[in-house]
Subunit: 248 residues, 2 copies
């Protein structure tokens, strides 16, 4: 398999950096080809802005119109072309990031905004279970500062399934089979530096061990279920009579 690991953390020596490293090492040992895509290290610009040349419409910047035109003409910004080549190459996509404000850091949010271009990686009909990357798998490996108890339903840190739902849904939108996330709780390293280096290292070693063991057995895992085209009517509403889904 070809595996792309997208890392979104400003400190390469962080807990997130360590988890990216163990994923790369584990998967390489298994004989896979691995590419580590360090968004901070590569200076990725996450802001979708009018940097398309020449513009389809110079007077009004409509992002999706420019994305489609420049994809068709193979004239997207070079960093976007590079990221798309990596996605086309990869059979498995791993996103490694800390949960900041209940979501991925801006540098990774903008990776979705800019890289997953309209007209290229999706269109009105080419989405969800008819999506561009169908047959490929994706998984989020996430660190969170609060302890696991606080993420129980209605708990102080909120529900992790809800925080990751927009990201998971976006991966499914372009066709990925999305595996359940790997979540490491109680990680202060992403924000406040550990007072005691040995506590950091012990926690990281445990998390690396868990993550490495899971990656070694990923083949047998089932993807998160989502509704799909067969579930929706022409207006995009759930078919009430669909037998396999919850009724409203």
């Amino acid at each position: 398999m070809n595996i792309l690991i997208v890392l979104a953390h400003p400190e390469r020596q962080s807990f997130n950096g360590g988890l990216a490293d163990v994923a790369a090492a584990t998967l390489q040992e298994q004989g896979h080809e691995v590419l580590l895509d360090d968004l901070y290290g590569e200076g990725f610009d996450p802001v979708e802005r009018p940097d398309f040349y020449p513009r389809r419409d110079a007077d009004y910047f409509a992002p999706l119109t420019e994305q489609r035109r420049h994809y068709e003409q193979e004239a997207l910004p070079e960093d976007i072309q590079r990221e798309i080549r990596r996605l086309e190459w990869a059979d498995l996509l791993i996103l490694q990031f800390p949960l900041w404000w209940h979501a991925q850091p801006a540098i990774l949010k903008g990776w979705f905004d800019r890289v997953l271009v309209y007209g290229g990686l999706y269109s009105g009909q080419r989405r969800y279970d008819r999506g561009h990357f169908r047959g490929k798998r994706a998984i989020c490996s996430v660190t969170a500062a609060s302890p696991e108890q606080a993420f129980m339903p209605y708990g102080r840190a909120g529900n992790m399934v809800e925080w990751l739902w927009p990201v998971h849904s976006s991966l499914y939108y372009v066709g990925y089979d999305v595996l359940p996330p790997q979540v490491t709780y109680g990680v202060q390293g992403g924000g406040i530096r550990y007072q005691d280096e040995s506590v950091f290292l012990d926690h990281l070693e445990q998390a690396k061990s868990d993550w490495g063991a899971r990656l070694a057995g990923l083949d047998g895992e089932s993807a998160i279920p989502f509704t799909g085209w067969d579930d929706w009517d022409e207006q995009g509403m759930l078919r009430q009579q669909h037998p396999q889904r919850w009724r409203l």
Copy 2:
């Protein structure tokens, strides 16, 4: 009242720009002070990176450690100090943005990452209903490309309450009373330019009229309910016996 409108769209003439304008005009007519904070126009950098000088720790970048230290020493980057001054000034915060990949655009996601600094605008004990901005209100005005039917539960575009939950929860995290969002569906203007300018203008006029009418009567609105400190035990888990909440 002092009102801050944060606009996150790369095209000032867009539907989102128009909604920001009508909000400003409506609220000014009512006698309020309004400041329009155009993140693209001001070139806001949404990437949390090691641009704190001098660094508390030059060898390891821990974002929250640097945020706290630089807040205390009034040495945060100038753009962050400016944004915090605006938030302290405002009684009502309006976020105007298009839904991109089930969330706010990266430029606004990073506004959360960088502006809402640890040690300044929140701390472990100063969050949620004990948050920094308690007594102030916030509201999201969001445009979405799909029609409203597709956002019904389990529909093709997903559930809008779920997409906005991370943003709403982040606003509540720093103490805001969060009002129900203003959502305008079926807006192609954020992505693909309308083929027919008159369709764009008709749709925009209707949305502006709806939004303006709502803003004129905002005082009587109730905020979205969230769990709070009285609901949680010491571990941050929901107190099972709490009579006012759903049981698990």
